[in-house]
């Protein structure tokens, strides 16, 4: 081993025991320049914590006192994959499907090629540094060369493990398209998934995400997406949270006339925390972004929405962007934090945003009860209808399953 653990440790300011464990693991991995750069980036912040502006509501350092296996591991179900291809990431590495549709090629590689600026996101950098193993593979390149109709599933699930780190790079060739469905089911004390998506001219990716971890688990899903000319990126997430969970998405409109939709619904029960954070840079003219995030939180649950649109001068001209976040606080003692930000320097743009949070409408509840629908059922119906709008763009093959999952959650908690 060329570097000593103590040298690595010195790069961190006040590393906690979880960070010391991560440093020790990194030291065991084969040396690699790319991994080293990612590790250096991670060392700048360590596990992100509340004194960092972008993490003030979602503190991984506090949640992860140490890296240990989940005691009450999540038993969540993956989105239904039928007979479609499934890529599985577990604590034992990646398992590849044998029924890959034409137009998709998989290249297991350690580490995966870096496409975006994952290093800018602390947990992206950490995952890039730590996804890897001796004698196995945690990283994969997915190359899409054609319009692929059949959905491709990724399932990340631990089995009472300490960690499950995985990294995927998706390269979408010109005119190619992918229906990507991800189930992030926790099951490990600390799960972290990094996906970098590079879309070339006219490419399309529909990405559908289910996040559902356990009450003593930390979970991060980091996406870094670059859009080529006239490409389309349609992301829909349904998050149930974990002890702490964050779905962070960074999108760059790299070439003109690209289109991005970033929608999400979050449902948080007592003791669960779901964070939806996104950053969209309009780095090319005439690009469109649509964002709808809806959440419903019960007593003791926490929802976080942070959205930012950055529209630079000149190159951001003719941007058309809209950001909406609406949250329902279903009970006293529910918590929602929201920070919508528009940072606009170009002068010929259409940018809008809306942000509301409140309780269910008393008039609607009474109207439904007057018709004979019991209060708890009325609440569940209204909440389901409320969040369903954010799930409309999910992959057709799983949209019903997502609505069912939301329905079951609301029926259970009433």
């Amino acid at each position: 081993m060329a570097v000593s653990v103590s040298d690595l440790r010195d790069k961190f300011r006040n590393p906690g025991s979880a960070e010391l464990e991560l440093i020790a693991r990194y030291a065991m991995l084969p040396e690699n320049g790319q991994r080293e750069r990612a590790f250096e980036a991670f060392a700048l912040t360590g596990l992100p914590h509340r004194r960092m502006e972008a993490w003030k509501w979602t503190d991984f350092k506090a949640a992860l006192k140490s890296v240990e296996s989940s005691k009450n591991a999540s038993q969540s179900e993956a989105l239904p994959s039928g007979d479609h291809a499934v890529i599985e990431f577990s604590a034992r590495g990646v398992t590849l499907p044998t029924n890959l549709p034409a137009g998709i090629r998989l290249h297991p590689r350690d580490p995966a090629q870096s496409l975006g600026n994952a290093e800018d996101v602390p947990l992206g950098a950490m995952t890039a540094a730590l996804a890897g193993r001796v004698g196995g593979m945690d990283s994969l390149i997915i190359e899409v060369t054609d319009e692929v109709k059949a959905p491709l599933h990724i399932v990340c699930k631990g089995d009472r493990d300490e960690t499950n780190f995985a990294r995927v790079a998706v390269i979408v060739r010109p005119g190619a398209s992918l229906d990507l469905i991800e189930s992030h089911l926790g099951g490990s004390g600390f799960s972290s998934f990094l996906i970098e998506i590079g879309m070339q001219e006219g490419g399309e990716v529909r990405r559908t995400i289910l996040q559902r971890g356990g009450a003593d688990e930390a979970q991060a899903i980091t996406g870094v997406v670059t859009l080529g000319e006239k490409s389309r990126y349609l992301q829909t997430a349904l998050a149930f949270g974990a002890k702490v969970a964050r779905i962070e998405t960074r999108v760059t409109h790299q070439e003109s006339r690209s289109h991005a939709e970033i929608n999400a619904a979050y449902l948080c029960a007592d003791g669960f925390h779901a964070d939806l954070t996104s950053h969209v840079r309009h780095g090319a003219p005439s690009s469109v972004t649509r964002q709808t995030t809806k959440g419903a939180v019960l007593k003791g649950g926490t929802g976080v929405f942070q959205g930012k649109f950055h529209v630079p001068r000149t190159i951001g001209q003719f941007t058309d962007a809209d950001m909406q976040h609406q949250a329902l606080l279903l009970e006293e003692g529910a918590t929602v934090f929201a920070k919508p930000e528009l940072e606009i320097y170009a002068d010929d743009v259409e940018c809008a945003h809306g942000n509301t949070s409140g309780a269910l409408d008393e008039n609607q509840l009474f109207y439904m009860r007057q018709r004979g629908i019991p209060l708890a059922q009325a609440r569940a119906i209204l909440t389901e209808a409320f969040i369903a709008e954010a799930l409309e763009e999910a992959s057709e093959s799983v949209v019903e399953a997502m609505l069912d999952a939301a329905h079951a959650f609301l029926a259970e908690t009433r």
């Binding site: 009474f366 009860r369 007057q370 018709r371 629908i373």
Partner: protein
Amino acid sequence: MASMLNLHNLTAQVGEGDEAKTIINGLSLEVPAGEVHAIMGPNGAGKSTLSYVLTGRPGYEVLGGSAALDGEDILEMDPEERAAKGLFLSFQYPVEIPGVPVMTFVRTAMNAQRKARGEDEISAPDFIKMSRDIAGKLNLTPDMLKRPLNVGFSGGEKKRLEIYQMMMLEPRFAILDETDSGLDIDALRTVAEGVNALRSPERGMLVITHYQRLLDYIKPDKVHVLANGKIIKTGGPDLAHRLEAEGYDGVMGEAA
């Protein structure tokens, strides 16, 4: 024999603390089964408040008196229990329920009521047939019934949807709160035909209205004048015409 709806010396307030205001003030009223009674009264008399007190809207507190449906005290029941017992309110301002199609909503309500009464759910074919028959009578198209309830409907359409729900749910006792407001003559006639179709010896109705016009189409057995939270005068259908001619001031002056 006791009447179907029996209100005795009912007193109720709306609001809380310093904001509380007594709106219903010693109101007594009886509606026997099979009868349709009209309640008329000036603005602020307590007409809508009465409908909310009877259906159990949160924020309306009963201070005294009693209200019974079929001899059973309803004041301690939740709104949904009263609905399952057969109490229906056609709202003056129907509420939008986004994301829930009309038919889904009504079927959910119907089955919730049946469950509360210990009955089986309605079968899908029976429900669809019943819905088609009733929608046809009210000039509601199948397409309208697939749209979210009251979202994007005109005022007249919303009132017809209230009557559609009433006909589907077949209540024991129906309160129609200003069902005529916002209706043109054709819609008024359609709505009145729907209401008249529901008249039966097994059912009672309370029709709350500002104007006598609706009562030309729905002939009441009795007309009550509500003012300052109590019934100040009761008469036959001709009382509605007198109110129209003389105004509330005239009739109220006489009663005082």
